[in-house]
Symmetry: C5
Subunit: 263 residues, 5 copies
C-alpha cells in the first residue's frame, strides 16, 4: 500500500485541527449538520452527474487505489531478457510454459497471443486496446474525485449563503451576529478542507497511478513486441532500460554540457 | 431510465431545504421573482448564444437524456459471435436475414453495407462518420447545460448587485439593512444551487452518456469490421471482450505485480 | 436572420430592468459615465490587443453574424444527386453548365476544379485550404467577443475600485457611504451585464455558426469528392444523408438497445 | 508601426484617469510606492520564472513587437507568379538572380534551396523547421506578457493584504480606517489596471502577430513548393489567392445559400 | 547556475518586506505558526497527491533545477560538422574514438548506436524514447511546483477561515476585532506570497528548462540522424544552424517586408 496518502491525510488533519485547538471555540469546528450538508450535497451532485453503473465502480476503484504500489520495472527487464533467450533458443512456442508462471496478467495476455501465432500488427493493436480499457476505470476514479473536489467548495459556499441569509434577517440582537457568521462560515471551511486535503489530492494521486500503470504497460508492450520481432536479449535490455532512466541518475550528466566541458 | 439522476436531484433539494427549514426565515428561500430573474436571465443568455435550430433540439435531447440506459455490451459479443458463424458457414450474404432481426440501428447500418458488398475501407469511413454525427446532438446537450451552469451564477450575482445597490441607497433605516442584504443574496443562492445541483451535474451525466454510446459504437464497429475481414468467431470474441474488461475484475490482478510476486 | 439572438437580448434586458424598476432608485442604473468607463475601457483593451487590420473586420463580421441563417443541408443532397447523374451520363465536363447555376460559391469552387481536370488530391487539398481560410474570419469574431467578455467585467471592477477608494477617503459624512458604494458598484453591474448577456453569448453564437458553416462545407467537400471519384447517385445520397442524421430522429432508436430488446 | 496599440493604451489611460479626476482625491491614485510594489513584484516573479537568456530577448522582442506591420500578402502572389514564369521559361537556376532582389528573407531562404537543387521533401522540412524557430521568439514574448498579466493582479492583492493587515492593527483611530483601506486598495487597482489594459492585451496582440506571420510564412512556403513542383503561374495564383480570401469579401456570398436561393 | 532565479527570489522578498517595514506592525508578518500551517498543509496535500517514489525525486530534481544552465547550442554545430567530416572521410566506425571524448551523454548514446550499425529508424525511435524519458523527471518537477502553487493559497484561505470563525465567536471585546482579523489574514498573505513569488514562477522556470533541454535534444537528434544518413558537413551545418536562429537577429529582417520594400 502506498504510504504517503494516509500519512498526508492524517498529518494534514492533525495540523489543521491542531491550529484550531490552539485557539478558542474548537467546538464550532465539529459541526455534524454542516458536514452532512457539504458532503451530502456533493454526493447528490455526483449522483446526478454519474450513472449508477459508474457509481458502483467507485468502491472497487477506491480499493485498487489504496492497494496500488509502484511496480518495480527493473524486474521486467530481467523477465523479458530471460524470455527472449528462451524464444531464440527454443522458438516462440517454448514460451508457453513460461507464461503459466508469469504473475503479470497483461504480460501473459500479450505473450499468449505471440505463442498462438497471431500476427505482429494484431498483437500491437489488441495490446493498445487493452491498455486503453484498463486505464478507463482509473481515469474514471480520477475524474470522480476531481468532480467531488469541484462540487465540495460550491456546497460549502451554498451552506454559508443559507447561514448568512438567515442571520441577516435577525439582526435585532447584535450580540448574535458574530456567532451566526461563524456558524455560516463553517460550511465554507469544510468545503475548502475536504476539497484541498482529500478530494483534489486524491485525484492527483490517481493521475500519478495512471501514469505509472501506463508506463509499465508500455514497457511490457515494447518487450512483447521485441520478442515477437525476434530481437536479441541485449537489444531488448537496451530498449527496456530506457524506461528505468530516471532511477539510475546517470542520465542526468548529459544535461549539463557546460559544466562537463569546464571540467 | 437512469435512476441516479432523479435520486440525486430530489435528495439534494431535500437536503438543502431541510437545512433551511431547520433554521429561521425559510420564507425568504421561496422567492419567485428571484427565481424568475436567475432562470430567466440564463434562458435569455442561452437564446442569444444558440441558434433556434439548436434550441429546438433541447427538448428531444432532454427526453433522450432521461430515457437513456447503459447498454449491456455483453449481448453484443454474443450477437457478433453468432453472426460471424453464420457469415463463415453461409457467406456474408446470409447475414441479410439476421439484419432484419437486429434491434440496434447502428449495427444493421454497418452490416447492411457489408452485405451490399461495399468495400472495407468505405464501411469503416462511413461508420466513423455516423458515430461522429450521432454524438453531435449529445455533445450539444452537454455544451448547452455547461453554458447554463456558467450563466446561472452570473445572473445570480447580477441580481445580488441590483439588490445591494438598491439597499445601499436607502441606508436611512438601519433595521432594514439585514433584510435587504438577505433578499439581495437570495439570487446568488439560486444561481449557485441551480448550477451546482442541476446544470453542471447534468452536463457531466451527458458526457458520461456520450462516453458510453461512443464505447458501444466503437465495439459494434470493431465487430462489423471483424466480420467483413472474415475473422473467426473466437477471434471476434477475444477482440470484443476487451470492451467488457473492467466488469470482470480479473484484469486488476495484473496491476499488483509486487504483491503477486511476494505470494 | 437568426431570430433567437435579438429575442434573447431584448428579453434579457427587459427582465433585468424590469427587476430594477420594481425596486427603488432605478435612476442609479442609468449612469452614462459608468457605461462609458466600462465599454470605453473594454474598447481600449481590444484596440491594444488586436491589429487595425482585424478591427476593420469587426463591422463586416457583425453584419455577417446577424445575416447568417442555418443552411438547409437537405437541398445539397438533392443538388449533388442531380449533378452526379449528369456527370455519369454526360461526363464531368457536362457539369460546366450546371456550375453557372449554382448559388453556393464554395460548391462551384470545388466543381469548377473537377471540370478543369485538376487531380483528386489537389482538389481535396485546395478545398480544405479554402474551408480553413473561410473560418478564419468567423473564428476571429468569436475570439473578439470572448476577449470583450473577458475585459468587460475587469473594467467594471476597476470602476468599482476607483469609486470605493474615492468614497473611503471621505468617510466624514456617514450618510453618504451607502450612496457612494451604490455608485461604485454600478460599474461592476454593467461589466457583468454586458459580458454575460451580450459579449459571451454572442461569442457562443459565433462558435455555433462556425460549426454549422464547417458542417455544410464538409458536406459539400464530400459531395464534390464523390463526384470526382465517380460514385453513383445512390452512394452519394447515402454518404451525404449522414450529415442530416439528427434531424430525422430515426437514428435515436439505435441508442436504446435494452428497451428495444425488451419490446 | 501598428497604430492601434498606442492609441488603445493612451485612450485607456486617459479614460481611467479622466474618471479619477472627475471624482475627489485624485492624489491617492498617483502612489509611487504602490506602483513600485506591484510592478517590482511582477518583475521579480518573472525573473524567477524565466532564464536570463530569455529575459535578454524581451527588449528586442518588444522592438519587433512595435515595429511590426501586417504584411501585404497580395504582393507575394504577384512575386511568385513572376518567379514561376521565369522558372518555367529559363529553368529553376534562372531564379538565382531574382533571389538577390528579394526583400523577404524567408522567401529567399526557400528559393535558394530550390536553386541549389535540394530535393522537394528536404526543402519542405527545412522551411517548416525555420517557421517553427521564427515563431519561438514571438511566442515567448506572448507567454512573457501573459505571465506578467497573471502575476500583476496577484501582487496587487498582496499589497492590499499588507495594507489591510497594517490598518486592522491600528483601529484605535476610526477616522483613519477609510484612508487606510483606500491606500490598501490602490495596489489592487494598479494590478488590475496594468494587467487588463497593458499586459494581457499586449499578449493578445503578440498572438495576433504570430498568426499573421504564420499565415505569411505558410503562403510563402506554398509558393516555393509550387515553384519546385513546376506548377504553372495560374495554378500558383489560384493557390496563393486563397490566403487573401477574407479581404476581397466575395467569398462571403457562399455562406448565405438560403438568401441567394431566394433571390 | 542560473542567476535570475535567486536574484528574483531575494529582490522579491526584499521588496515585499521592505514595504512591510515602511508601515507599522511588521511583527505580525513574521508569524511562525501561520507559516507552519500554510506550508505544512501544502506539504500534506502534496503527500496525499504524489507517490513516495515521486516525492523522493523532488530533492534531486531541485538540485538539477538550480545547477541547470542554458546549453550553448553553437558548440554542437561545430561538433557535428567535425564528426560528419570524420565519418565521410573514414567511415562511421571511425567515430568510435570521437564518442569517447564527447561530454554530452545523449549525443554519445545516439552516435554509439550509429557506430554499432543499428538501423536508421531504430535509432530515431530509441532517441525519441530517451528524450521522452529524460523529460519525464523535469516535467514532474514542474507539475509538483504547479500543484504546490495551487494548494498553497487554498491553505492560506483555510487558515484565514479558522481565524475568522474564532474571532467572530468572541466579538465581546471590539478592540480585539482588528487584531484578530489581521492575524486571520496573515495566512492568506503567506499563501499568496509563496504561490506567486516562489512556487508558480519556479514551475514556469522548470517549463522553460524543459523547453531548452528539448530543443538541445532535438538538435542533437537531427545531427545524429544527418550523420547516419551520410549528409555532408555543409548540409548538417545548414540544418543545425536553424536551431540557433533567434540569437543572430538576422532572421528578423524577413518579418518587415513592407519596411524593406519602402527602402
Amino acid at each position: 500500500m502506498e504510504k504517503s496518502t494516509p500519512i498526508g491525510l492524517i498529518a494534514g488533519m492533525g495540523m489543521i485541527y491542531g491550529a484550531i485547538f490552539m485557539g478558542q471555540g474548537w467546538q464550532t469546528f465539529f459541526d455534524v449538520p454542516s458536514i452532512v450538508l457539504v458532503l451530502g450535497g456533493t454526493v447528490c451532485a455526483l449522483l446526478v452527474g454519474f450513472s449508477m453503473n459508474e457509481i458502483k465502480q467507485v468502491l472497487p476503484g477506491l480499493k485498487a487505489f489504496f492497494s496500488f504500489s509502484t511496480p518495480d520495472l527493473a524486474n521486467y527487464v530481467e523477465d523479458f531478457s530471460k524470455l527472449s533467450r528462451t524464444a531464440r533458443r527454443e522458438g516462440l512456442l517454448a514460451l508457453d510454459r513460461s507464461i503459466a508462471e508469469l504473475e503479470d496478467e497483461f504480460m501473459s495476455f500479450g505473450l499468449q497471443m505471440a505463442v498462438d501465432g497471431i500476427e505482429e500488427e494484431a498483437i500491437a493493436k489488441l495490446m493498445n486496446h487493452k491498455i486503453r480499457e484498463d486505464l478507463r476505470q482509473r481515469n474514471f476514479i480520477a475524474r470522480f474525485f476531481t468532480m467531488a473536489g469541484t462540487y465540495c467548495p460550491a456546497f460549502g459556499m451554498l451552506g454559508t449563503l443559507i447561514g448568512l441569509i438567515q442571520m441577516l434577517q435577525n439582526l435585532t440582537d447584535p450580540s448574535q451576529i458574530g456567532a451566526g457568521m461563524a456558524m455560516a462560515l463553517i460550511t465554507t471551511f469544510y468545503g475548502a478542507l475536504f476539497a484541498n486535503l482529500i478530494f483534489l489530492p486524491m485525484a492527483d494521486k490517481m493521475k500519478t497511478q495512471v501514469g505509472e500503470v501506463l508506463k509499465m504497460h508500455e514497457m511490457i508492450q515494447a518487450g512483447v513486441m521485441s520478442i515477437v520481432q525476434g530481437d536479441g536479449p541485449s537489444m531488448i535490455e537496451k530498449r527496456l532500460r530506457l524506461y528505468l532512466g530516471n532511477t539510475t541518475g546517470d542520465d542526468d550528466t548529459g544535461e549539463e554540457p557546460e559544466l562537463a566541458k569546464a571540467a
